[in-house]
Structure formats: structure tokens, C-alpha cells
């Protein structure tokens, strides 16, 4: 699921570069917003001069045109997810003959099922976001009552309609991905690929030879081995349940856990979240961590903090109980683990050919995505570097260049750090919890550590919509400034539309703008976002020395912003 931070998205650029001859159907065009925005990054990367000799040598021999190829393909890719598709497509565009194999389509992955498109499209970001949309309606119905809308009977949710429509959409997407591959002239083989030797792949008994083999088989959710773990489900299954969970336990405090908690709560399940820590979302700003948990609790989600499941018990009536370090909670129809993922490297024949792996099963690669076997490469989650779709895309694109354009290219990870991965960066990110979170730059705690003296501006208000709906919704916003330069170091928001709102501000934060620049901007009225340019009184000023001076003066905030 880590990959799901990014949905693949077909941008105009994306298919313009393809030698597509089939007419673009409206279906195809309508996909524009669902394929990756990062397609550009691998093109805009600086071309690295090759510095390591063995890589240079490899790259050179790879591109040596003297020897006529005696292989079936220049590149054989195992796994048609984000990284594999990207590498194959680019390689084909560079003139290589390419084959790719992928398991048959299924919404739930296993040793024998997968599907073209991979985790992100089929079991990650896309289905997740669709379920988030579905689940938000219940809150909107509640809101609409306050605006004069009345229903003969309370709207009921029909689980099977949603799942059928979601799966139809996934089918459509996997079809589009297949077309992309076929149109790029890539041979698509359905079946399970296994590495036989450094230049041979076996797909269900048929052998294919290739000059290069790329392993991009991704990862799968991991459920820790506790008694009764066989009763638990992972995020794959959670996205494709046959019926609504009446009462679900979600184990984990990360963004995936919170997103699923929101989904099931919105679709009217009773939701309990078990987290090991005191608070959710480790690595995020403390105020945001408190605020989102408080808001989610108000919407009926029960958090069990510092409570780790030790066993799952099934009772005679079929319901599940979660036994934790603090006690037992009964009556669950489902227990879901959102506790991490593991690379899909079992039974690939890797050990036999000499590809080295970490103890987690991740393929060890150098900075050019090369494995211990010179003709075998690996990109994406299977290498367990940074498990995000855009990163897999970048790795795939860089590899295609290295192999087929005589441009040894390293993926530039500086483009993609998340705040909790790399601290000092202006990379925005979002959590699609309900309410959602958007953030860019440093948390207050990180800013203090790095800059010492900072000013913090916050707003915590009831939006106009909530005053009418009567619901207890609030919005929290926060600016973290460097006291000396007035530069905006971090911007955080939790509330409706936060991910959309933060994007534009991310441009400003990335450009190094100051609070004065924010203040000079006229508000868009009436919006929630305008609060970010009308914060006037610091909530607190933190000084390393002399000791911090407290300052509280939340102004009476009229909705119209006078």
C-alpha cells in the first residue's frame, strides 16, 4: 500500500509521446486525471556522468551495437506495475524489443494473481480514492439536512453496487494499461515469470531469452504472525470485501490505517483503530496528529492507543476478538492489518541465479538499479527503497535510459522525499483521512530542531458550511515561520479540501516565500483557504534563548474575514 501515495496518471504528455495509432476513445481521454503526474520527472533528471567504472562498462557493453542480438528480446520485464510498465515503455521508445509478463487480473493479489497496472491502480491509490469518495457521501447527507434537504428514508448504502462499479473501473484501467503496452510495441505475456538463468525467463513453462531482465514485481501487504492472524485481512482484501463489515478493527496508526478508518466509518461500519504509539501519524506535526484524531473520534471512530494486538480469537458465533496488551475487544466482523508491506520475491528463482536479497526479501540494487547479476535489474517496491509510485516511475525511466540510451542515469531521490523520510524539504503530501490532511515543509518540532527560533500561527475555526449544517466540523491551519527570516518553513492543514488547498501554497513554500508575501496576497472570498493569508497574530513564539514567550490571542474570527 505504500505505493499508493501516487496513482498512475495519464497526462497529455504521457500519451503524446506514444506511437499510438488507435483512435483515442473518450474513455481513454477521460483517464487524464488518473495517471501519474510524475511522468516528466524521469525526463527532466540531470544526466549523470557515469562515475563508477563497472557501471560504465556495463552500460557500454549493453549498448555495443557490434554484436547481433541472439536473444528473443532486449529486455524482459517481470511485473507490469508502475515501474515495470514505465521502464518497458521507455525502453521500447528507445528502440529496444521488449516483453513483459504479468499475472492474471484480480483485485486481490497472490502468488498467482496480479494484473497489468499493479498495486497502485488495482489495489492502491485508485480504488482507495474511489472508496473515499463513496464514503464521504454519508457526511454530505448529514450536511445536506442542515441545508434543507430531506429524504423519504435515510439513504442506505448498497455495498455490492459500489464494489461492482469500482471493479468495472479497475477493469477499464487495466485495459488501458494493456493498450499502452501493446501500442508501444511491447509483447505482453500473461503468466508467472521465473528467472531461470541470467538471460532466461520461464513463463508458465515457456522459455524466453533476453539481454536484460528487469524484476518489478512489487510488494504485498504483510500481516504479522500472531495467533489467529489467519482471520485477519490486509488492504487488498479490505478494498474488495463482498459485504460491508459491521464492525472492523484496523491495526496501525499510519496514513493507510487512517484512510481505511475513514472509509469504513463513512460507509457506516463501526470502526476501532489499534495503534502502538500514543498518537496517530508518527512524523507529522503534533498539532495535526492531535487534531485529526480528535476529529475522527467525533465522527465515531474509536482509537485504542498504545494497544497492540497479540492474538485474534474466533468465537463460536463467528465474530472475532482482538486480544491486546491491555485486554480484549470483542465482536468484530473483520480485523484488518495496515502494518506494512513485503517485497514479492518468493519463488522467483532469484537465489539460484545469484541475485542478492536483504533479509526482508528486498532485492539489493546499486544506484543504477543493478542487482548482483549484471544482466538483471530491479525497480520499484521489490527493491524496498522508497515505496511510492512516482519513485518507481522514476526508477523505471532512469533504467531505460541507462540500458538503451547510453546514458547511465541514477534516479534522483531528492525529488521525492516525504517529510517523514527526509526532513528538510518542501515536498507536499496528503492523507485522505476524513477530514483530510495536507502539509508541506517542516512540522513545528522539526523547525525548532533545525532553526531554534520560530513563530507559529494557527487558526482553528468552524467553516461557514458547518455553521449551517450544524455538524461539529472544524478546520485547523498552521504556519511555521523562521523567526529570523520570516520565511514560511511549514504549512499544515486538516479539514475539508486540505489536499487541494495545500498544493498552491506548496509552490509558495517551495519558492521560499515569507509571511509578508502571504500577507500581501488578497484573499479569495469566501473560502477556507483565505485564512492562510489572513493569519495576523502569532499563536506562540518559540525562542531557544531567552526562554520562550507565550502568546495567545485568538481573535474573534468573523466568517467574512473583517
Amino acid at each position: 500500500m505504500a505505493t499508493s501515495v501516487t496513482t498512475p496518471k495519464l497526462t497529455t504528455t504521457f500519451y503524446k509521446r506514444l506511437p499510438i495509432t488507435v483512435p483515442l476513445s473518450s474513455h481513454f481521454l477521460s483517464l487524464q486525471n488518473t495517471l501519474t503526474p510524475f511522468s516528466h520527472n524521469c525526463c527532466s533528471l540531470l544526466y549523470f556522468q557515469c562515475q563508477r567504472r563497472h557501471v560504465a562498462a556495463r552500460a557500454k557493453s549493453d549498448n555495443g551495437a557490434e554484436l547481433p542480438s541472439h536473444y528473443d528480446f532486449d529486455l524482459f520485464t517481470v511485473g507490469a506495475g508502475s515501474g515495470g510498465v514505465r521502464a518497458s515503455r521507455f525502453a521500447a521508445n528507445f528502440g529496444a524489443s521488449v516483453a513483459i509478463c504479468e499475472l492474471p487480473f484480480s483485485t486481490i493479489s497472490s502468488e498467482t494473481t496480479g494484473g497489468v497496472g499493479g498495486t497502485c491502480v488495482l489495489r492502491g491509490c485508485v480504488p482507495k480514492k474511489l472508496l473515499v469518495y463513496a464514503s464521504k457521501f454519508s457526511h454530505e447527507f448529514d450536511e445536506s439536512n442542515g441545508f434543507g434537504w430531506k429524504y423519504g428514508t435515510e439513504p442506505q448504502h448498497d455495498w455490492s453496487t459500489l464494489i461492482a462499479n469500482k471493479n468495472a473501473e479497475l477493469q477499464r484501467l487495466t485495459g488501458i494499461y494493456k493498450n499502452i503496452l501493446i501500442n508501444a510495441g511491447i509483447t505482453l505475456i500473461e503468466g508467472r515469470g521465473k528467472i531461470v538463468d541470467p538471460h532466461t525467463v520461464d513463463v508458465d513453462g515457456k522459455l524466453y531469452s533476453a539481454r536484460h531482465i528487469l524484476i518489478s514485481v512489487g510488494g504485498r501487504p504483510f500481516i504479522p504472525d500472531i495467533p489467529g492472524s489467519e482471520y485477519a485481512i490486509d488492504s487488498d482484501a479490505a478494498l474488495d470485501l463482498p459485504s460491508k463489515p459491521e464492525k472492523i478493527a484496523i491495526v496501525g496508526g499510519g496514513y493507510i490505517a487512517l484512510e481505511f478508518a475513514g472509509i469504513f466509518s463513512g460507509l457506516t461500519s463501526e470502526v476501532h483503530v489499534f495503534i502502538r504509539q500514543k498518537k496517530v501519524l508518527r512524523g507529522f506535526d503534533e498539532d495535526i496528529r492531535d487534531f485529526v484524531a480528535e476529529r475522527m473520534s467525533l465522527r465515531g471512530i474509536e482509537f485504542h492507543t498504545e494497544e497492540s494486538p497479540q492474538a485474534i480469537l474466533k468465537s463460536t458465533d463467528g465474530s472475532l476478538s482482538v486480544k491486546t496488551n491491555k485486554g480484549t475487544v470483542d465482536g468484530f466482523s473483520h480485523v484488518m492489518f495496515a502494518t506494512g508491506r513485503r517485497p514479492n520475491t518468493k519463488n522467483l528463482g532469484l537465489e539460484k541465479v545469484g541475485v542478492k536479497m536483504t533479509k526482508n526479501g528486498a532485492i539489493e540494487v546499486d544506484e543504477y538499479s543493478g542487482t548482483a547479476v549484471p544482466s538483471i535489474w530491479a525497480v520499484g517496491d521489490v527493491t524496498d527503497r522508497i515505496n511510492l509510485t512516482p519513485v518507481a516511475l522514476m526508477e523505471g525511466g532512469a533504467l531505460a535510459k541507462t540500458l538503451f540510451q547510453a546514458e547511465p542515469t541514477k534516479p534522483d531521490y531528492r525529488l521525492f522525499p516525504l517529510p517523514f523520510l527526509l526532513e528538510n524539504s518542501a515536498v507536499p503530501s496528503a492523507v485522505f483521512s476524513q477530514p483530510p490532511i495536507g502539509q508541506v515543509g517542516l512540522s513545528e518540532e522539526q523547525a525548532i530542531q533545525e532553526y531554534g527560533d520560530i513563530d507559529v500561527f494557527t487558526a482553528n475555526f468552524r467553516p461557514l458550511k458547518a455553521t449551517l449544517s450544524g455538524l461539529p466540523d472544524r478546520i485547523f491551519m498552521k504556519l511555521v515561520l523562521c523567526a529570523k527570516t520570516n520565511k514560511v518553513l511549514g504549512l499544515h492543514m486538516c479539514g475539508e479540501d486540505a489536499p487541494e488547498i495545500v498544493q498552491g501554497f506548496a509552490v509558495a513554500v517551495k519558492a521560499g516565500l515569507t509571511k509578508a508575501d502571504f500577507d500581501a496576497t488578497v484573499g479569495v472570498h469566501p473560502t477556507a483557504a483565505e485564512e492562510f493569508v489572513t493569519l495576523r497574530t502569532p499563536t506562540r513564539k518559540i525562542r531557544k534563548s531567552p526562554p520562550s514567550e507565550g502568546m495567545t490571542g485568538p481573535e474573534v474570527k468573523a466568517a467574512a474575514g473583517v
Binding site: 501516487t6 454530505e140 428514508t153
Partner: protein
């Protein structure tokens, strides 16, 4: 105190006799966005401030208004509330594809929404009054008139007149909706009444192509009414980017509004079935409500400006310099009454600059560059900076246009056929982003941050180097890779008349 103020305020009248005693340092006529902001901040700077405002009522007239002004009572706030209410109509349709079984019989209770809207406005009206009193501003209820360069007369409800002297007078009386001079015009309503209708009209005709017209068309349509929108040009929203105007027109039509471009009303006739609208094409449309959204005029008629020599332009707007000062040195004006850029946040900015200049010892001018704005049609439009046409007209060099048109992911399941469109206009030479527009869900919220970037001269490269928030609509603004078109500078481009 008064003397100190005078020294601080660089622009204060240099020739004024320092010994003159005034009842107030500042007297503000009109307690809307601009007036309240100026009054509060002047008071915060130490000035003694009085303000007068007409009695409260949702529908304004020469003698009725209310603390909070147009924005709070008859503008942005009530409108946004109705837009929220109307948006649920589309939501309900979308919900079904997501598995929600919504009962066939859906009722929309207009009266309930209206009541809640009125409650909210009254609440805000109270908050504004409190803001003023907390700042130490003295509030008078009644009609203000200027009787001399330093003299204001307030006629109270009971007819008694109060007279106060003030070192500075600020005119912030705003504007009011106008009716088009058409036979039968008395049968039509303006936006004031439209925000307070007793019943939801089943059939509505809206005349006008401006933002108020398209917003009300969207509101009523969203609540299930039949709506006909008549406007003079080929497209609604004159002054906005032509490409975006076309998008809005398409969306309005897609949501079921009947568009009548190049059409105006010849006559309104009262009939048994309702108001009969006769267009200049000879068409007849029968409606329960006819809304004239045909412009607003500054509220200057009864201020006695002529007598004290304050100049107004031919539309009645008070003429001011860039510091918001009129030709009479002690009299100033901010907000819609000056007809500069008629937006609440701009009035706030003008009011703030006035207070800083006159009482804060920090002379400053309002900056009208890159002011973002939003049109709350459904789905909304929001823009900041230059339109493509404006950028070409300025003719400083070639421009690059980047556009993105996509079907939001949410629509893949709901089946709604409605593209979100985004656009960046970039100076080809400097790479500076000159303008940004978006039409689609959440556009106004998305545009605010973009406005900060534009205001500070962000380049396309800076947009590009920002990582997208995924999956969102807003990320398209930082992932527009290929130029849609390059347009040569000025000169040869024929002006359109859409």
C-alpha cells in the same frame, strides 16, 4: 493623542490648524467590509472613531442596510450558503453510482434554508457589531450625510439628527443592485430579493452575463428549478479568460441551464401563469421569477457630496487617488462606492491601507496586481492574474499557454460528464506565470495558494519543481509539461467580441 496622530499621518492635511477640536478623528459612513476594517484598524492605531450604518434588513434601500454590509447580508455569505445548499442536488445524483440508495422522494425545504441563512446573517451582523465595540468604535444607527469637509450628520430612525465633527471622513457606503430600464421592470427582482425569496421559483429567468447571474442560475438549477439565462454577449463572464468562459458556458448547459446568448429582454408582462418574458428575438418565456443581474451602482446619491464638492464620475462612483483620498483632503472613500475593484477582500485591503496611511504612520497604497477572485457557479471558476487575452494585449512579448482538461477521478464512477479545466499563462521570455485559471470543483480553494505564488512572481520552473499532491486536482497546476500553444505578442491579434 490627536496631535500625535497628525504628526504620524504623513498625508494628514498639512494646513490644518492643530488646535481645532473634533468630535472624532475619523467618522465612517457605512459599516460594510471596507468601512468596518478601516474603523477597527484606525481605532487600533489610537484614533477616536465613529461609524454610522442604516438599520438591518436583508433587502437594502436608501434607508435600509445593516452592519456587515453587502458581503455579509446580501452578497458573498448568503450566496455561498445557497450555493452550498444547491450543490447537494448534484451530489445526490453522484451518490447513487457510489452505491447510495437515495429515496426517490427527495424534498428540498427552501424555507428552512432561508431561515438558517437569515439566522447566520444575524449572527454575523452581531459579530460585526461586537468587533466594532470591542475596538472602541462608536456605532450610530441612521443615515449619514456629509455636510462639510469635517462635518457629518446622522439622521436616526426616529428622525432626530445628530451632527459630529471629524478630522477625517471616510465614505464606505458600497453599492446597490440596479434594474435594467425595461418595460415591466418592476416585475423583476434584483439579487437582494433573490437571496430572500419566500418560495423557491420553479421557473426562473436570469438576465445578465456577470458572475451574479451565473451564480444564481447555478443555485436555482441545483435546487431543481428550470432556469433560462439570457446575456448579451456570445459567452457569459465578460472580462474573464475567453477559454474559461467557454468552459463555464458548457458546464452551465451540462447542468441543465438553458443558455440564451446574444439575447436581452424587451419587455416583462404580468400574466396568469407568471411573468411573461419577451426577448429581443421575440421569444416568450414564462417565469415565476425574473432576476436582473445587470450591474450595481455606487450608493452616493443621498450623501450630499455635490454640496461639499466631492467629485464623482458619471456612474456616481466617488473619485479617489491611489491613497483612497477624494479631491476634498479630509474626505476619503474605500470599497464599492469608488468602483475600483468591487470585491470584499479588496475593500478590506483599501480600508486597511487607509488606516495605516492616516493613523498608522505607514503610508501605503492598495496593490491591485494579482488579486484572485472566484465565481461560485457550479462548478466554480477561479482566476488570478492575467487572462490570455490580457496577456496578449499587454504585448510585452510572446506568451506560453499551458492547459489541462481532465475528467476528475470522482466522475469515473459517477459518470458525470464534466471536465475540469486549468490554465497557466506564462511570459515566454521571463518564464513568469502571468495568470492562472481553473474551472472545476474546489477551484476557489485551490487558487488561493496559487495566488500567493503569483503575487511573488513565481516562474513556471518554480511551479514545475513543486511536487504534486496525489491524487488531487490541484496537482495539475504543477504538472503541466507541454505547452498547449505559443502566442505571439500583441499587434496582429484581432480583438474578439465574445
Amino acid at each position: 493623542m490627536a496631535r500625535k496622530m497628525l504628526n504620524d499621518g504623513e498625508l494628514s492635511q498639512p494646513n490644518q490648524e492643530e488646535q481645532t477640536h473634533f468630535d472624532f478623528d475619523l467618522f465612517v459612513i457605512g459599516a460594510g467590509s471596507g468601512g468596518v476594517r478601516a474603523a477597527r484598524f484606525s481605532a487600533n492605531f489610537g484614533a477616536k472613531v465613529g461609524i454610522c450604518e442604516l438599520p438591518f434588513h436583508p433587502i437594502s434601500s436608501e434607508v435600509i442596510g445593516g452592519v456587515g454590509g453587502t458581503c455579509v447580508i446580501r452578497g458573498c455569505v448568503p450566496k455561498k450558503i445557497l450555493v452550498y445548499g444547491a450543490s447537494f442536488g448534484g451530489e445526490l445524483e453522484d451518490a447513487r453510482s457510489y452505491g447510495w440508495e437515495v429515496h426517490e422522494k427527495i424534498d428540498f425545504d427552501w424555507k428552512k434554508l432561508l431561515q438558517k441563512k437569515t439566522d447566520e446573517i444575524l449572527r454575523l451582523n452581531g459579530i460585526y457589531k461586537r468587533l466594532l465595540s470591542n475596538a472602541g468604535v462608536k456605532l450610530y444607527e441612521g443615515e449619514g450625510k456629509i455636510v462639510g469637509p469635517n462635518e457629518v450628520e446622522v439622521t436616526q430612525l426616529d428622525g432626530t439628527k445628530l451632527s459630529y465633527s471629524a478630522k477625517h471622513i471616510l465614505i464606505a457606503t458600497g453599492s446597490r443592485a440596479q434594474r435594467a430600464p425595461i418595460p415591466g421592470q418592476e416585475l423583476a427582482i434584483t439579487s437582494d430579493e433573490a437571496l430572500s425569496l419566500e418560495e423557491l421559483p420553479k421557473r426562473a429567468v436570469v438576465l445578465g452575463g456577470g458572475y451574479i447571474a451565473v451564480e444564481f442560475a447555478s443555485i436555482w438549477r441545483g435546487m431543481g428549478s428550470t432556469v433560462d439565462l439570457l446575456f448579451r454577449k456570445e459567452l457569459p463572464l465578460r472580462g474573464f479568460d475567453d477559454e474559461m468562459r467557454a468552459v463555464v458556458a458548457r458546464n452551465l448547459e451540462g447542468r441543465g441551464i438553458n443558455l440564451h446568448p446574444r439575447t436581452t429582454i424587451k419587455e416583462l408582462i404580468k400574466s396568469e401563469e407568471g411573468v411573461k418574458v419577451i426577448t429581443d428575438h421575440g421569444e416568450e418565456i414564462v417565469a415565476d421569477v425574473v432576476l436582473f443581474a445587470t450591474g450595481r451602482a455606487p450608493n452616493t446619491k443621498r450623501l450630499n457630496l455635490k454640496a461639499v464638492g466631492v467629485e464623482v464620475d458619471q456612474t456616481g462612483a466617488v473619485k479617489v487617488d491611489e491613497n483612497s483620498r477624494t479631491n476634498v483632503p479630509s474626505i476619503w472613500a474605500v470599497g464599492d462606492v469608488t468602483n475600483r475593484m468591487n470585491l470584499t477582500p479588496v475593500a478590506l485591503m483599501e480600508g486597511m491601507c487607509f488606516a495605516k496611511t492616516v493613523f498608522g504612520g505607514q503610508p501605503c497604497k492598495p496593490d491591485y496586481r494579482d488579486v484572485p477572485c472566484a465565481v461560485f457557479c457550479i462548478p466554480p471558476l477561479s482566476v488570478v492574474g492575467l487572462s490570455e487575452e490580457q496577456a496578449i494585449e499587454q504585448g510585452k512579448g510572446d506568451i506560453l499557454v499551458f492547459t489541462s482538461s481532465f475528467n476528475p477521478m470522482r466522475n469515473t464512477i459517477s459518470g458525470r460528464q464534466e471536465k475540469t479545466v486549468m490554465k497557466l499563462v506564462v511570459d515566454a521570455e521571463t518564464e513568469k506565470v502571468l495568470g492562472a485559471s481553473m474551472c472545476g470543483p474546489e477551484a476557489p480553494e485551490i487558487m488561493q495558494g496559487i495566488a500567493v505564488a503569483l503575487k511573488c512572481g513565481a516562474t513556471k520552473a518554480q511551479f514545475d519543481s513543486t511536487v504534486g499532491i496525489h491524487p488531487s486536482s490541484a496537482e495539475e497546476f504543477v504538472t503541466m509539461r507541454s505547452v498547449t500553444r505559443r502566442v505571439a505578442a500583441a499587434s496582429s491579434n484581432p480583438k474578439t467580441n465574445l
